[in-house]
Subunit: 261 residues, 2 copies
């Protein structure tokens, strides 16, 4: 991590630049599997128009929708209900519920928390460059993993009063919700847990709205290095290796010398 | 698991039925957070028309697209390129690349393998009932986790010849690809690994196409219990607890008596 943070570089720079960061460029281009040209980020056609929305209103609608639509589709609803008013058009028929299966780490499998891919659907459809969507979803994962959440407090709690915020350390649903449950002292199948996930969804929707509002104003700058995890750990990953590996965390460089070879 | 498998029941049955499976019904309704009515599955408007496509052609196009578009968008491309021919209409302008950020467990974070949410995007947009998308994505996660993959073999390998198939035991990108890398003896940042992920994407696209073809013929039946993981483990989860927890796997019933309370 230290190495690539020495200089502020975009993933596109990583791929194109063949100078002093050649090793890193080789990682990214070979790594994601296809040589420099084909791994390069590219433009695509955005199909939905975005206009600035009030992040607090996006959060409010997300929170209220959670109890029917669950994590992913509630975030989508938070955006869509507000964009219907601000933009109209295609947003009026947006298939909010077509993404409900993303809940609970995909159909309850506990993998990727549905709040982020919910926001990612909106981000991907309104932006027009793979670099931007990559950077925003990466920033969103950092926010999710390393912020005390949920910090959103509704005017009137719908399901329960809750006491704790926790730092997930990961975008993984099972670990994130498990840590919060331990802090709060409640099980998954409780109103408290549902209340927590609803507020968390509101936080993620709000953060994504702030990023998209900046982007539409031409002010969005990535806060974190995209693909830091692949570069740092030599595999798609997080920085919580010991959560699962304990003291026996593999060192990719030692095992398979693919970095800087 | 044994308990709910005694009788073949749908998640909707679980929610509605308050008889002998009342405990389970309570889990699901309270569990996903919102009481019986609001947790119920519901219809929504499908926005894209589906027609049967040749699963082998879907796999082929997915494989070929991987090296530019990576896991999620390559699966989407596999469907879209074929549905353009079979259906046309809105498929001609489908934003294939709006979902590329899903790659590598979301922007490389190693959480949910992008092949499944890629397929899920198509599943969610063409079906019209949250129960169906839930069941199909759940079946797809089972297929991904418990099948020796990749079994797809291209006519001409684009990046490399590879030797191994592995059983992931999880839909999590990092664990899945890590297990395969260990078997093959290669690092992440190699042509072999890219070749593996391209073939795996082809397998997932093919399996999803088989399910959707059955569904459009009125023949699709879920192979596995949706939300089995929440019911069995009392939290969004997989059945690979010891992959991370080792011998200290928590027992939710003992810690927080939320099941059958």
């Amino acid at each position: 991590m230290e190495k690539i943070n020495e200089k502020r570089i975009s993933r596109r720079d990583l791929i194109i630049n063949t100078g002093k960061i050649a090793a890193t460029a080789a990682i990214v281009s070979a790594g994601i599997g296809s040589g420099i040209k084909t791994a390069e980020a590219y433009k695509y056609k955005a199909v939905y128009k975005y206009a600035k929305v009030d992040p607090k209103m996006v959060a409010k609608v997300t929170y209220e929708n959670y109890f029917k639509r669950w994590c992913a589709s509630s975030v989508i609803a938070g955006f869509v209900e507000n964009l219907k008013k601000e933009v109209g058009g295609a947003w009026k028929d947006f298939p909010i519920d077509a993404y409900r299966w993303m809940h609970g780490g995909m159909a309850g499998w506990g993998a990727l928390c549905g709040t982020m891919p919910g926001a990612g659907v909106i981000i991907g459809l309104v932006t027009d460059d793979t670099d931007i969507a990559e950077a925003m979803t990466n920033d969103l994962a950092f926010y999710y993993a390393y912020t005390e959440l949920p910090s959103f407090v509704p005017e009137k709690p719908i399901k329960a009063k809750i006491r704790h915020k926790t730092i997930a350390g990961t975008p993984v649903c099972h670990i994130s919700v498990g840590r919060w449950m331990r802090a709060e002292g409640v099980g998954f199948l409780t109103n408290e847990r549902a209340e927590r996930c609803a507020r968390l969804a509101a936080n993620i929707a709000m953060e994504a709205a702030i990023m998209l509002n900046d982007w539409v104003d031409g002010k969005y700058k990535p806060k974190h290095e995209p693909l830091f995890n692949v570069v740092a750990n030599g595999i798609t990953s997080q920085n919580n290796c010991r959560d699962c590996h304990g003291g026996f965390t593999p060192t990719p460089n030692e095992t398979y010398p693919t970095l800087e070879k």
